[in-house]
Symmetry: C2
Subunit: 195 residues, 2 copies
């Protein structure tokens, strides 16, 4: 019985990058960004303090990789949530709920995914995953809007609603009991506004 999470009997770990991402997101979930450190992650992975740098360059690199994974999860959750409804407005609401759920239940990811100063936004994989999540969102909104709405309006609406959800979650403005109602309010007023 070893107290460390991962064995250290081999000099070469095998799949250190993945393990570091996993352990890193666990640390974030448990202690938040304040309790996060490269050394802590290295400890949990049972590896020397300098090892992570070889794969991710620096702390920002690891956080960026975790954030990219987070956006991948968000996209998946949003897709899943959307399939539950047939009504196009309901689908947008469901996606917003997925966004909220991730921000609330997975505080580790939420704490860094949108933190410009913590993440390297120029990272390709990060951009891909973030764009994928936002793309799903935009698409769903486009379907919920009437056909007569032009592209510029749709773009405005998508960005506005995305920003709204981000704000509501980031500022913790959604109380659990009224989440459904408040989100639906935001979606409905926006759709009503562009129709």
């Amino acid at each position: 019985m070893r107290s460390e999470t991962y064995s250290r009997d081999r000099y070469h770990h095998g799949n250190l990058p993945e393990v570091l991402i996993d352990e890193g997101s666990k640390v974030l979930a448990e202690k938040g960004i304040d309790g996060f450190s490269m050394r802590e992650v290295a400890r949990r992975a049972g590896v020397a303090v300098a090892a992570p740098s070889h794969h991710f360059g620096n702390a920002k690199g690891l956080l960026t990789a975790i954030a990219a994974q987070g956006f991948g999860k968000l996209a998946k959750n949003m897709e899943l949530a959307a399939t539950a409804s047939r009504d196009s407005e309901d689908r947008v609401v469901a996606m917003c709920q997925a966004y909220r759920a991730m921000g609330m239940s997975d505080p580790g990811y939420a704490a860094i995914m949108f933190r410009v100063e913590l993440v390297d936004e120029s990272d390709q994989r990060f951009q891909e995953q973030a764009a994928r999540a936002f793309g799903l969102f935009e698409e769903a909104l486009e379907r919920a809007a009437s056909r007569s709405v032009d592209a510029a309006q749709i773009s405005y609406a998508a960005r506005t609603l995305w920003a709204t959800m981000h704000g509501l979650v980031d500022l913790k403005m959604i109380k659990d009991q009224e989440a459904e109602e408040l989100i639906r309010f935001a979606v409905r007023t926006l759709l009503a506004g562009i129709r």
Copy 2:
């Protein structure tokens, strides 16, 4: 000619707390939250590293004080912006613009004012200033809405728009040339939605 910003000839500084807040916000503006440190602020104030702790407890305490001052500035800017217009919708837009202007031109404040993990939200002065800014916002929105809209709707709308502005600024989703248009879009659709 002294290189230090403040003299150190007196053992007792006189108004250290204010100076620390000033220097702290300057550091934030220049180097962002990454470059911010108690030691750096102490250096600029020409004071021992331990001095700030006596007034603000810890780093979070100083950041909280700076953030509170930031909300005070924001409230002032919003009030000022609102007086420029007579139309109630225009006033809401002007307030949003003030919000945005602060987020963009004063990145030092924006970097911490809404960062839960950096700030002590239970701090009284912080709460007061933040509530004041939001209160102005809520009030302006209430005036812009028609009289038939009930209080719950107004509350939803205020929170939604505040969140939207926060999201747009935080995620840097507003490009300069379309700022006016996008903000007006957000305000107008929201008002249209609740009318």
